[in-house]
Every structure is written in C-alpha cells, then in structure tokens.
C-alpha cells in the first residue's frame, strides 16, 4: 500500500492527438502538447558523417525559434534518451517531442505516432518513453522518483499494453507508485455520475462505453472509425476542391509591408522543397485545417440536406498566409458526418481515407444504441438518462442537442434521455484528465495505488487486480 496525505501525484492522459499532463488536484493540465513526435532516421554512416561535419545541426540550433521555451528545445546527441535504435537495425533516430520542436521544420523529419494504426493502442514504446520523459522532466521539471503517476488508458486497452506501460514506467522512471484508470470511468466521475454511458469522440476513433458504479462494463465498449481526423480530412478535401491551396506555415514568410503599413507581403520559401517529408507536410496542413474546422463548423439541428443548406450565409476564415476563404454549407456538412457517415463519400477523393483497423464507420447515435443494447436490461434505463459527451471532437456546437434528439427518437418510449456535456470548455476538453486529477488527489484513493515494491514483488500483472 502506498500512503501519505501529500502525495503530489502526476496525472498523464496520452490521447490519440494530444498529451495532457499535470499535478493531481489542479483544475486543468499544466502541459498540453501533440502526441505525435518528429523523427529523423539516420543510418550508421550518415550519423558518423554528421559527427565529422556537424554543419547541418549547427544550423538547426541557430534557426530554432527565438521565442521557443528553452525546456522544449529538443535534445541532441548528447542525450542518449532522445536517440534510439529504430526497428532494431543499425539506423538510429533523433526524436523531437513537443509543440515547439515539432513546429520547426527539419530536413527529412517524419511525423510518427506512438499508437498502432490497426489496434489504436500504444505500440511504439520507444516513443512512449520519450513522451513521458519530455512530460515529466522537460515540462513539469520534476524528479519522477518522488511522484506517483496515474495514467489514463483507452477503454479497450489490452493486458499486454497495460503491463508494458507499467514495466517502462517502473523500470525507467521509478515512480513510487502507479495506477491505471479507464478513460470512460474518469469521464463519468468528473460528471458526477458513476453510472452512465460515455461517448468519447476522439481523434482517431469514437468509443461508446457503459460505466456502472464506477466500473467499466467491458462488453459494452463499441468503437467507430469516425473522429476528428476524418472530419478534418473532409474539410481539407472540400477546401482544396474549391481551388484553395492550404499553405503550411513553413512554406512561406509573411512580413508587414514596408511601404504600406497594415498590409502584408507573403513570400514563398523554396528551400523547403524536396527535403520535407510527406508526413510532416500533412501534419502541418492538418493543424491549419483543424483550426478552421473548430472555428466555423457546427452541427445542424436536423438531418442535413444539401439543398436546404445551399443558401446558408458563408463565413470568412483567414488562412495563415492571408488567403481568405468562404465556407458555406460545408460548415454543417462536415460535422454531419458524425451522424451520417455515408456523407464522407461525397467529399472528393474520400475513398482514400485510411482505415487499417477495419473499424466500422458507424454514426455516433448508433454507437450509443449498440452500446446500451449490449448491457443488462435493468441498467439500460439509467444509461439513457446519463449519456456523457466527451472528447475534443464533441466540442462543435449543437452536437449535444442533436445527439439527444436522435437518441430520443430511437429509444424505447418510456426511457428518459439526457445527454450531459459540460458547458465549460476546459471541463469538456480535459474531462478525462480532470477526472484523473481529482481521483488521484482523493484521500480515500491513496490505498489503491500499486507501489513500486508491489511491482518488484509480484510483477506487472498485479495491476489487473489492483485496477480492473
């Protein structure tokens, strides 16, 4: 048992698009950065050549943004942690973790994710370790051996993944204690409903799961491929089909005109061509389109109809390079995908949307219905009455109202349907993290930790008993 009143636990929520981390007991996470990582693979020869020449890297350092927080500047060769064997071959790779490190374009830098495309679970443990190190040491500036760590985990996490997480945490960072908690449980706690149905609209997928008295009902977990990524992708296709070229930030330089104050000159930078990787380009563009989506999109109150919405007033949005675009019916059409996934096909080139995990393209409403149908009849009524909406992609206006209406139409007559979504932006966006923050700071929770000693005596598999 791990105890004491002042535990100063750290809560980490490593999501598909962003890492949220901070101290337990606080109201919002201290640290928030993308969960994908920049990686430059160098084979042995190149690494040696660079050690001799070293010119390329000197330039990198020079050009790094002046405003960048010193703590987030990526570590170079001197730090063994950021350099690692890739795929067991002779090649090594330099990793760049965090927002600033990633925003700066580097030659041949790929953007990679620690999650497996197929399962949606953590698979590149080398990246995970670096993300945790960046979080604990570079951003929170703490000594990991002094703080217990609570990790939020996906509802469908596998036993192997849980054990591996523990192994790496305990062996590498040696925290005094660790606990794993399911996303859905944390969301339901932060909404004050220990029995509820949590619909988490994430980046890579959407998950519906029933929580009963604080425990996840495993058989109720159902997933759909829909998520923020697809919405952003469709938004981009729609914008590009209108002839707009979304220029990533690294591809141009924008300065205030000397002659005309208040106007800007945009100059294309050419030297990026050829050395920028495809994945980095995609990531940079996605950042811009994602912001566009969050700014202009809203769910339609009723089923979307292209003709009816054709006369909607357009909304203007200025891209970083100063191009102004007008968004009309797509404002409603893009979020409509959540309710009617078939619409994806109407976006140009949408066949190309990757779906390696083979997850169904299921609407959020049918996901809720399916999840509820899988649990005991006795609990269903209570679940209809407490559907909690969570996840970054559920933040678009009107999604809550629309979901409530659709579920009400399909639910059995006597059921009272209520969709709960916090009005507070922070509570919505960081719901899982906040749940973890409060759980880890409760005095009565302290007996639940799995301590380092227990790990050493009983091994990682004990976690399945400690945190079912």
């Amino acid at each position: 048992m791990y105890g004491g009143d002042e535990v100063n636990a750290i809560v980490i929520d490593l999501g598909a698009s962003a890492v949220k981390a901070g101290y337990a007991g606080e109201e919002s996470p201290k640290v928030h950065f993308p969960s994908c990582v920049g990686a430059i693979t160098r084979d042995k020869d190149a690494a040696e050549a660079k050690a001799n020449g070293g010119a390329g890297d000197a330039r990198d350092v020079e050009m790094a943004e002046a405003g960048a927080d010193a703590s987030t500047t990526p570590k170079k060769e001197s730090d063994a942690g950021s350099k690692s064997k890739a795929n067991g071959s002779d090649a090594t790779r330099d990793l760049y973790v965090g927002h600033f490190a990633l925003n700066y374009r580097r030659e041949n830098m790929e953007v990679v994710s620690p999650f497996d495309e197929e399962t949606g679970l953590l698979s590149d443990w080398d990246l995970v370790e670096n993300i945790w190190r960046h979080t604990l040491t570079d951003r929170l500036h703490i000594d990991p051996t002094e703080h217990p760590v609570l990790l939020a985990e996906p509802n469908f996490n596998s036993k192997e993944c849980r054990e591996k997480s523990l192994e790496i945490l305990f062996e590498t960072f040696q925290p005094p204690a660790v606990f794993l908690a399911k996303n859905a449980c944390l969301s339901s706690y932060s909404a004050g409903r220990p029995t509820s149905l949590v619909l988490d609209v994430g980046y890579k997928s959407t998950v519906a799961a029933a929580v009963h008295d604080g425990y996840l009902l495993q058989k109720s977990v159902s997933r759909s491929r829909l998520g923020g990524e697809i919405l952003t992708d469709c938004m981009q296709r729609s914008v590009e089909s209108k002839g707009v070229n979304v220029r990533p930030r690294y591809a141009f330089k924008r300065t205030e005109s000397k002659q005309n104050k208040g106007t800007f000159d945009v100059k294309d930078l050419d030297d990026y061509k050829g050395t920028t990787t495809e994945s980095y380009h995609r990531w940079s563009v996605e950042q811009i389109v994602s912001d566009l989506k969050e700014t202009v999109c809203r769910a339609s109150e009723n089923v979307f109809n292209e003709e009816e919405h054709a006369n909607i007033p357009t909304v203007a949005y200025e891209l970083p390079d100063g191009t102004e675009i007008q968004v009309g019916s797509d404002r409603f059409k893009v979020p409509e995908i959540l309710f009617n996934p078939g619409l994806v096909q109407t976006f140009p080139g949408a066949e190309a949307i990757a779906n390696p995990g083979g997850l169904p393209m299921q609407s959020v409403t049918s996901l809720v219905m399916e999840s509820i149908a899988r649990v005991d009849v006795d609990v269903r009524k209570e679940l209809y009455n407490g559907i909690i909406l969570a996840g970054g992609s559920s933040m678009l206006p009107n999604v809550r109202e629309r979901l409530e209406r659709e579920v009400l139409e399909q639910a059995p007559g006597q059921a009272r349907v209520k969709v709960i979504a916090s009005q507070n932006v922070m509570e919505r966006k960081f719901g899982v993290w906040i749940g973890g923050s409060i759980l880890a700071s409760l005095g009565s929770f302290q007996q639940c930790w799995m301590s380092k000693q227990e790990y050493e005596e009983k091994g990682a598999s004990l976690i399945h008993l400690k945190a079912p």
Partner: protein
C-alpha cells in the same frame, strides 16, 4: 476502484437511517461530505411532503439522500420503498461532483435496506412521478 475509494462515514448517518427504516421517525434524511467525512445534513419529520424534500436539496451543491417513498398502486394498495438519491447538480464544482461520485458506492452499502436508487442532476429528475416510475 469505486468501492475501494470511499470517504469515511460518520456513525450518526447509519443510525439516522435505521431510525428512518425501522421506526419511521423521519420522512427523509440528507447527507453531505464535510471535512472529508460523510455527515448528516438535515432530516424531515414523518409528516414532511415531497416538496419539503426537494427544498432540502441545495441548488448548487451535491447531496446524498434517503427518502421513504409511499404510494398507492392502481388497485388501491399502499406500498412503500426506501429510495437512495444521489443529487449532483450540473452546476456543482467539478471536485465536488467527483467526490460524491466516487464515494457513493461504499456509502450506499453501509445503509442496509435500500431498494431503489436514483441519480439526479437537475430538479426534473427529483419529481414524484419519477420516483413512482422507478418503484413500479
């Protein structure tokens, strides 16, 4: 984890509940978490009405409550059940919500004899009709 994480319960809580259950000394009892212990909030005389009970629930703060619910079935038969209510309004502070949510399970188990349970987040969920639907 819900069962393991529980706030300590003041002895008076169980005592009052037993008086409600066996001697029918109260119509309802509310409980609150104060200084990280569950203590008795207030209690209603046996003659108290349903509205009195609703008034005992604060607008912006969570509470637990037990209510001795009596009703008449269609064939005129009088019945009663003890209802456990978790009152967590949407407007409550998130820390409070969390605290009440995580302590509920263990607390409920200390009160032996609860037949029905209701989770409420706004006043539309604490109406006589809702209680009756639940009990039937």
């Amino acid at each position: 984890m819900a069962s393991a994480a529980g706030t300590p319960v003041d002895d008076a809580c169980v005592l009052k509940f037993k008086e409600l259950k066996s001697k029918r000394k109260f119509k309802y009892v509310t409980y609150k978490i104060e200084d990280s212990t569950i203590v008795v909030g207030n209690e209603g005389a046996p003659t108290a009405s349903f509205d009195d009970f609703v008034e005992a629930l604060p607008e912006n703060d969570p509470r637990y409550a037990v209510y001795d619910f009596e009703w008449e079935t269609k064939d005129g038969c009088k019945k009663s059940k003890i209802v456990f209510v978790t009152w967590v309004p949407d407007t409550a502070k998130i820390r409070q919500k969390m605290l009440y949510a995580s302590s509920k399970d263990k607390f409920k188990r200390e009160l032996d004899g609860i037949q029905i349970e209701i989770q409420a987040t706004d006043f539309s969920e604490v109406e006589e009709q809702v209680f009756r639907d639940k009990c039937n």
